[in-house]
Every structure is written in C-alpha cells, then in structure tokens.
C-alpha cells in the first residue's frame, strides 16, 4: 500500500515533468535537453532556500522561476544567437551542472531536519481531520503524511494541468500553439515566433524545475545527479499518454501526459514489488513502455476492424 501511494505521488510529481516535456517536444517540436539540468536546478534552489528558512511554498515557486530562467536562456541562444536547437539545450544543461553545484555549495543537500511541503501537507491534514497515528484504509494501515503527500501532489498536478489548459486557451496561448504548428504562417500574421518559443521553453522548464523542487522535498534531499535520465522518462510519459488518449485535442493530451507519467511509475513499482532480478529492471521498464505504446494501437485497429465488419 505504501508503495502504491509512494509511486502515485512520484508519478503525479513527475507528471509536471511530463507536461513540461510535452510543451517543448510536442507543442514546439523542440527536443529540449535543458530539462535534465532544470530539474536539478529547481531542486537545488528550493532545497537551499528551505534550508535557509524560507517558506517551502515560496522556495518551491522560486525553484520553478529559476527553471523558467534556464528555459529562457536556451530559447534565446536558439532564437537570438542562432545556435542549433539541440546544441543550445546541451549548452545550458552542461552549464547548469556547475550552476547547480554553485547553488547548493555541495553535491547533496539533505532536507531531513527542516519543514518541507509534504510535512506541511501532513500538518494541514492533521488540522483538517484531527491528528493521530496511521490511518486504516481497506485493511491496510497508511502513514498520514504519505496520504497528505499524495493529496498534495494530486492537487498540484490538477491545478497545474488546469492552469496550463486555460493558458493555452488564451490568445497568447493559442498563438504559441499555432507557432508550433506552422511558424511561417504565424510570422505572416505578424507574430514574433522567436518570442513565442522563448516563452514556451520558459514555461516548459519552469514546470520541470517545479517537478524537481517537489521531488527533492518528497524524497528528502536534493542531489546534483538527480536530473540525469529524466528527459527520457518525461518523453516516455508523454508518448505513453498520447498512446492512451489517441491523437486528440489539447486538453485531452494534457490529461494523457499526466496519466502517462502516473502509469509509468506504477509499472516500475510492480516490477519492484515482484522482486524481478534487479539487473533486468531497466529492460522491464523498456518493455512496459513498448507494451503501452503498441497495445492501444492494436486495440484500436481491432475495434476498427470490428466496426467495419458491423457496418
């Protein structure tokens, strides 16, 4: 039960990463490697501020803002300096490694003895439902803080997804999406597409950094290496999500990305729980992703064939 709650929480936190990757990769078709650096940046900034006594919520926001700045730089390198898209991401990611070390002052900041968002969520839960020991849940006992953390992560994921949805419904948001679809046409319409891309990457990396800031608080430490490999997981979540909801409207795609992230973590959790040979873990996750990609398409084609036969 703890594993289910833990993996759902991590899945929801990393759904922000998936949303960020969705914006850069799907909306702008921009393979943005900055992600790996900005995730750690968000964690680093938040951790340092929390340790210094800043309110965790403010620290988390600051982490997100730092990520936005990193995204801006990648965007500016590409649009203003004409650096190749991939390379500008690589440059910023590489630079961020040093920046992150500078920010933290060392490679790892533990957050054990300070108050973080999950603990605040636990306290809020206590205030709302009364304090007490572990909660019984269908026969299992569950730590209150874990439940509060899950509720908090769900709230954040829903809130962010909703804000994102509403934002992309505005004129500015529509213009951004249209820029991703057909930049030439937008330029003809008098829209500065470069600025659109910079803004898009800023939002994308802001979300990624937010995920990093939350992840650090949830796992209890920020580490300079925590971003490594994250871009791939983000992409996997986005693609799984797309496979789940099919090629469809923007709102659905957002929900798909969140679901993809959660599902992906659940699959890893099952692999862990069943005690598969640890050396095979990565192979199993790859197979899971493959299955998630292939199965929906197969199901759909089956359904279509049936529909054709009925017609």
């Amino acid at each position: 039960m703890m594993l289910l709650i833990g993996s759902l929480t991590i899945g929801l936190i990393l759904s922000l990463l998936a949303l960020g990757v969705y914006i850069s990769f799907k909306v702008f078709s921009f393979a943005d490697i900055t992600t790996e650096g900005s995730l750690t940046l968000g964690a680093a900034v938040a951790a340092v501020l929390i340790v210094r006594g800043v309110n965790p919520l403010a620290a988390t926001m600051a982490g997100g803002l730092a990520g936005m700045a990193a995204g801006c730089i990648t965007g500016l390198l590409h649009t203003r300096c004409g650096v190749h898209a991939l390379l500008s991401g690589i440059l910023v990611m590489t630079a961020l490694y040093s920046v992150n070390l500078r920010v933290m002052g060392r490679s790892n900041i533990p957050l054990m003895s300070v108050k973080t968002l999950p603990q605040q969520a636990g306290e809020l839960g206590d205030a709302l439902f009364g304090a007490g020991g572990p909660v019984p849940l269908w026969g299992w006992t569950v730590e209150r803080e874990a439940l509060a953390g899950l509720a908090g992560a769900l709230l954040v994921a829903v809130l962010v997804a909703l804000l994102l949805y509403l934002f992309f419904k505005t004129n500015l948001g529509s213009a951004m999406r249209a820029t991703g679809d057909n930049a030439q046409m937008m330029r003809a319409q008098g829209i500065h597409t470069g600025n659109m891309l910079v803004l898009g990457l800023a939002i994308s990396n802001g979300l990624v950094a937010l995920a990093g800031a939350l992840l650090a608080q949830f796992q209890g430490f920020a580490d300079v290496q925590m971003g490594i490999g994250m871009l791939v997981w983000g992409l996997a979540s986005v693609i799984i999500g797309q496979a789940l909801v099919g090629p469809s409207r923007f709102g659905l795609a957002i929900v798909g990305a969140v679901m993809g992230a959660v599902l992906f973590r659940l699959l890893v959790a099952i692999a862990l729980r069943w005690g598969l040979n640890p050396n095979d873990l990565k192979l199993m996750t790859a197979l899971f992703v493959l299955a998630a990609l292939v199965l929906p398409t197969m199901l759909r084609s089956l359904r279509q064939r049936k529909a054709v036969r009925h017609a």
């Binding site: 833990g6 993996s7 060392r106 026969g139 299992w140 796992q219 430490f221 599902l263 050396n279």
Partner: protein
C-alpha cells in the same frame, strides 16, 4: 438543442478517450494492492494468545564458543522447566561483541525492554547488568561467572540470603589446580611455566592467584606477563618464551582467550605447549583444555531462571554455589615438535571428552556437545531487503562478503533469512520507491547500500530497522548527529577512510616527511570531509597538509602540477568521486615529478599508479553488515548500536609504482602489507 447534443457527444467522446488510461492505472494499482494482500490479512490476524507469555533477555558479552554454548544451554534449561520459545516464552538475545560501550547501551535497553527476567552469561555482562539494575527492577539470573563473590555485585557469601533479592546464579571456577596438576603429570620435569593476563579483569586475577598457589605447592616457577589488549599478546607471549618457560597456562581472561592464536604462534616458535582452563582452545592448538562443560553450566542457569519465573525457586532460600561439570579436551597433534618429552598416558586419553588425534581428526565423546547455531528465535525466516542505488564493483564485493559471512555465521539462506535485492540502476525516483516496496513486502530488516538509498530511507523512516552499508558518511547523509547519537532504528557500517592508518604508513615510509599534499573537490561533500579528516590526522602526527581545489576532471592535471610544485614530500590523495575517476592524471604528475603517491582506494595501487593504498576492505564491509544484521535478528535494538566503519583496512603495495615514484619501501611495511604486487598484474 443541437449545441447541447454536440456537447453531450463531446463529453462521451472525452470519457471514451480517457477510459483506457484510467483503466490501466486502476489495473496497475490493483495488481500492486493484490501483491500486498498478505500484508493486510497479517495485520488483521494479529491477536494475542491466552497463555502467559514470559519475556526473557539473554545477555552475553562476546561471541565465543563457550558463551554461545552456554546461551544454548540456558534456552534448553528454560525448556526443561516448561518454558518453550514460540509457545509461552520469547527470548531476546543481546551480544556486546566484546565492546563495553555497547554493553552499557545494551543493559539500558534491557531495563527498558519490559522483560520478566534477564539471564547474563559471563562476568562482565553480570557486572554491567547488576550495576545498572541496582534498584532490583528486573530479576536477574547469572551463569558462566568465575567468582561471583569477588565480582562486586553485592554477593557476600555462599549461604541463603547472602545475595540481593533479585540476583541469583552460580559460579563456575576454572579448574586451574587440576590443569596445573595435569601439566606435572604430562611432563614430570616441568620447572618453569608462564601465563598472560589482562590485570583489568577480575576473573583473571582470581585464576592467577590460584595458579600461583598451586604452582608454589608443586615447585613450579610461574612467570606472569601483563597485557592491556589483544594487540600486545604476541609480544607478551614471545617475551615469556624468551625467559625460558616450558609451558603456557592460559585461561579465565577474556582478552587472552579471544586471541589464543597469538599465544599459539609464540608457543610454536618456542616449541612449548599451551595448557588452557577451557576445552575449546585445543582447536586453536592447545595441548590440554580442561574446563567446565559450559553447555551444562548454561542449562543449570536456564533451569534456575525457569524456576524463578514459575515461582518454584524462592530467592530467600537460594544459595549461590559453585558448579563445575568437567570437560576435558586433549590434542595429540600438539605433542609433535615439542622440545620436552610431554606424554599423554593412555588412561587419560580414555577420559577425554574431546580428542584431536595425531592426524588432526576431532572426536567428541559422551555428553551432547551442542552444535553452535546462531540461536535465532526458532521458526522465523527473516526477510532481509537490500537496496542499492546502482550496481558497481564495490556493491558486488560488498554482497560477496555479506553472503560469505552469512554462511560462516551459520545463517541458512531460505530458512533463517531470505535476501531480496533491489537495485535502482542509477535512477533517483526509483531509489525512493524501493524503500516503499520493502515496506510493503513487510521486510524485517532494510539494508541500504550507497548513500542515496540511505537518504531515501531517512526520509521515509520505515517501521523496520534500517542497516546501512557502503555509505561514505552517514552523518552527512542525515542519519545522525554522531556515531552513537543517531536516528532511532538506524545503524550501519560506513566506508569512511582509515586516516590514522594512512598516517602510520606515510610515517613508516617517509620518517622525515613534513608536508603532504592532496587535491579535493569543494563541491563534493565527501571529498571535503575526507580532506579535513586527513588534515586533522596528519596534524596529530605533526605533519601539515597542502591542498588544491578542483571542480572538474579537466582541471586535475594542472592542479596536480601546482600541488607537486609546492614543497611537499608526498601526495596522499583523499577519496572522492572526481579524484577517484581522474586519479591517473594525478599519478602521471606524481611520476613525472617523482613524488610518492598514496591512495585510499585499492585499485589505485593495483593499476592506478599509486605506490601504496590504505583501503577499506569492502568484502569485510559486507561481512560486518551481516554480523550487524545477526545482532539485530537476535533482538538488539539498532538505536543502541553505534555507527561503525568497516573493521578491516587493507594495505596494498605496488613495487613497480613505488620504484617509478622514487619511493623506497621499508621491509616492515612489505611484511605487514596484505597484498604486494608488481605493476605487471
């Protein structure tokens, strides 16, 4: 109306689209929960039986054959009184593994542990327990004590009432007189004998007095050498041999008895025998071992404890007396090569309970010599969950040592314990989930390897004991304030470098050295920590340290050159990720400028270019980890166990590298090195 229908159709379409994802998520969650079903029922079924449950603590001071035997005897003695483990008795075993600080923590633990009775085995455990329990809060039965009257616990004599109300037991004095007489029998011309004692132990003083008395009667000169700890034993024994003794009398002394091998080395060199007041020393090469049958002693203690619990034994009527079920062990193999004509008469051979013949075959006769088992609560298979952040050579060495030690400690895989190993393969998010997975699988003990998994565990604070390993610095990882003051439920084995050991090696090689240089990485916690600790250790020995900071692999060669350009006598590279991976660059500079190079990682001496490595033995780390797990499985509270570093340091010398670096290797170091290689392998 049409618009409304459109919207309706739209919503249906949205729901359809989302259905697959939601279904898969719910399905996956259900699979996870189904895996946990057992856990749910287990919590439901937890309920108490009706029979009175007795809780007994057994406290032994160290792991030695006779103590393990007597603990087994105690448990069997309790059973003879109708108190059976698993039915109406739960036994928690405590073992200080020879450490007095731990012993003091253990007795506090026992006092607060809500036990009905504590049974102590050995004199130090009697003393520490009785001292903490002066108020008599807990009933206490002792055994395997040489001289209960002289141990300062308030026992004044051997009549009823001459002991505190809560404290009962029996004395077992070593058969010192008989052993001395036996020596005269085996070698009638015996004139001079020697013995080694730790004067700090009450029991060895008592044995010495008795041996001196008996030797005096028989006209044997008894020479005495004193030691304070086991490291001085070999020297003490050699000095006695040099003074012309013809036999060693050994026994009644925990310090000497745990290192009989050292005495044996000296005895073999001088071609004289060892006669011990304890039978198990024949295994280590003693000619005669005569002592109590400690299994029987323990059993008597167990029966007494059972009697006290059931009310059969009244404390006010009980008298503390001596009990000596004799056990004789002879080793015919030890006769070979002796200077003097020692001889074992055939009728004596027939009396032996344990006999090792000329070929080294051991026969155990009569009386059930109990098999030494780790004595875990019966019928339980401990679920050990080991989690690691990534797979590496160090992790593999560690796990090899762990498996090896489990076998040596008598832990049977699949019966006593089941090991589940998980590996995050370098993914932080997975590292977190592994802790949850261990909680859900209801692990009895969680063992974390590497720092990130420890940190994840610190954050989650799982309900079971957490024993970390392969962690450079548990304090920086947030597991505690100091080695003894740490998070409840957490303890473990760190890989912290052996700074003092390194300083000794440096001084041995370079007696005139004054300044030692190192590179460090200011952005790596462990690198900074290691640098500071090394600096302190050097300062204690009157040496100073010169440092250069580097943040990146590309800066290392230049920094090494700058460092070597300083007026330093040698480079001693502290451990850290950056400088471990860029070590070859440092070695190259050292070679060019002919500065001796010392390192803390074994591979850096084997192939990396360092002349000498003073490295922690990761396999030993795994063994320490297993021993720690056993302590916890026996019922010790991890909170009371201080953090410890790996107990063994390896000195690895590479002669080729040393020659390249212009370092003359002292013969003493080559002799005590664990591994001497030339550059070719």
């Amino acid at each position: 109306m049409a618009a409304h229908q459109d919207r309706m159709a739209g919503s249906v379409e949205v729901c359809k689209r989302l259905f697959l994802g939601v279904a898969l998520i719910v399905g996956a969650a259900a699979v996870l929960l189904l895996s946990d079903l057992r856990q749910r029922q287990a919590t439901k079924d937890a309920g108490g039986g009706a029979e009175k449950q007795y809780r007994v603590a057994i406290f032994q001071i160290a792991s030695r054959q006779i103590l393990d035997d007597s603990v087994q005897g105690t448990i069997d003695g309790l059973a003879e009184e109708g108190l059976v483990q698993g039915r109406n008795l739960s036994v928690t075993r405590f073992n200080a593994e020879g450490d007095m600080v731990t012993a003091n923590a253990i007795v506090q633990n026992i006092l607060q542990g809500n036990f009905d009775l504590v049974a102590t085995v050995s004199t130090p455990s009697l003393q520490t327990m009785a001292n903490a329990n002066r108020a008599g809060k807990l009933r206490h039965v002792f055994s395997v004590v040489t001289a209960p009257y002289g141990s300062g616990v308030g026992i004044t004599g051997d009549k009823p009432g001459e002991h505190p109300e809560h404290l009962l037991g029996m004395g077992t004095f070593q058969p010192v007189r008989q052993v001395v007489q036996l020596a005269r029998e085996l070698y009638p011309d015996l004139k001079v004998a020697g013995t080694i004692i730790n004067p700090g132990e009450a029991c060895s003083q008592a044995c010495l007095a008795m041996a001196q008395d008996e030797c005096g009667k028989l006209g044997i000169d008894l020479l005495v050498a004193q030691v304070e700890n086991s490291s001085g034993i070999y020297e003490a024994a050699s000095s006695l041999a040099a003074r012309g003794i013809e036999a060693f009398f050994i026994g009644g002394d925990n310090t000497v008895e745990t290192s009989v091998e050292s005495v044996f080395k000296a005895a073999v060199a001088a071609r004289i025998p060892i006669l011990a007041y304890a039978p198990d020393h024949v295994d280590a090469g003693a000619l005669v071992g005569m002592g109590a049958n400690y299994y029987e002693v323990g059993k008597a203690g167990g029966k007494l404890a059972g009697g006290v619990l059931t009310g059969r034994v009244k404390s006010s009527e009980y008298a503390i007396r001596d009990l000596m079920p004799r056990k004789l062990a002879l080793n015919q193999q030890a006769l070979a090569g002796l200077k003097a004509p020692w001889r074992i008469a055939p009728e004596l051979l027939a009396q032996a309970d344990i006999l090792i013949d000329e070929q080294g075959h051991k026969t155990v006769r009569g009386g059930a010599a109990p098999v030494s088992t780790p004595a875990l609560p019966a019928g339980k298979t401990w679920q050990l969950h080991m989690v690691s952040y990534s797979q590496s050579m160090m992790v593999e060495q560690w796990m090899r040592g762990f498996a090896d030690a489990c076998e040596k400690l008598g832990l049977r895989a699949g019966e006593d314990y089941q090991l589940t190993y998980r590996n995050a393969q370098g993914d932080m998010a997975t590292a977190n989930m592994m802790i949850d997975a261990a909680i859900d699988s209801q692990a009895d003990i969680l063992m974390t390897l590497t720092t990130p998994t420890l940190q994840a565990a610190v954050r989650k604070k799982p309900p079971m004991p957490v024993l970390f390993g392969l962690t450079a610095n548990p304090l920086l990882a947030g597991a505690g304030k100091s080695d003894s003051e740490h998070l409840p439920g957490f303890t473990g084995i760190s890989t912290m470098s052996d700074y003092e050991g390194m300083v000794v090696v440096i001084r041995e090689c370079l007696p005139n050295a004054r300044k030692i240089g190192t590179l460090y990485n200011p952005s790596e916690d462990n690198s900074v920590f290691n640098m500071e600790q090394m600096k302190e250790a050097l300062a204690k020995a009157g040496l100073s340290m010169v440092t250069r900071a580097t943040n990146e692999a590309t800066e290392v060669p230049a920094a090494a050159l700058a460092l070597a350009g300083e007026d330093i006598d040698a480079i001693c590279q502290v451990a850290g990720n950056l400088h471990d991976s860029s070590f070859p660059a440092i070695a190259q500079v050292a070679r060019q400028l002919r500065k001796p190079l010392f390192a803390f990682v074994s591979g850096q001496a084997l192939t990396g270019g360092a002349a000498i490595a003073v490295a922690r033995d990761y396999e030993q780390g795994g063994r320490d980890h297993a021993a720690l797990a056993l302590r916890v499985m026996r019922g010790e509270n991890p909170t009371a166990i201080p953090f410890a570093a790996i107990s063994r340091t390896l000195i690895i010398v590479n002669t080729t590298h040393a020659a390249e670096l212009g370092l003359a290797l002292p013969p003493s170091l080559l002799q005590r090195a664990d591994q001497v290689v030339d550059g070719k392998n």
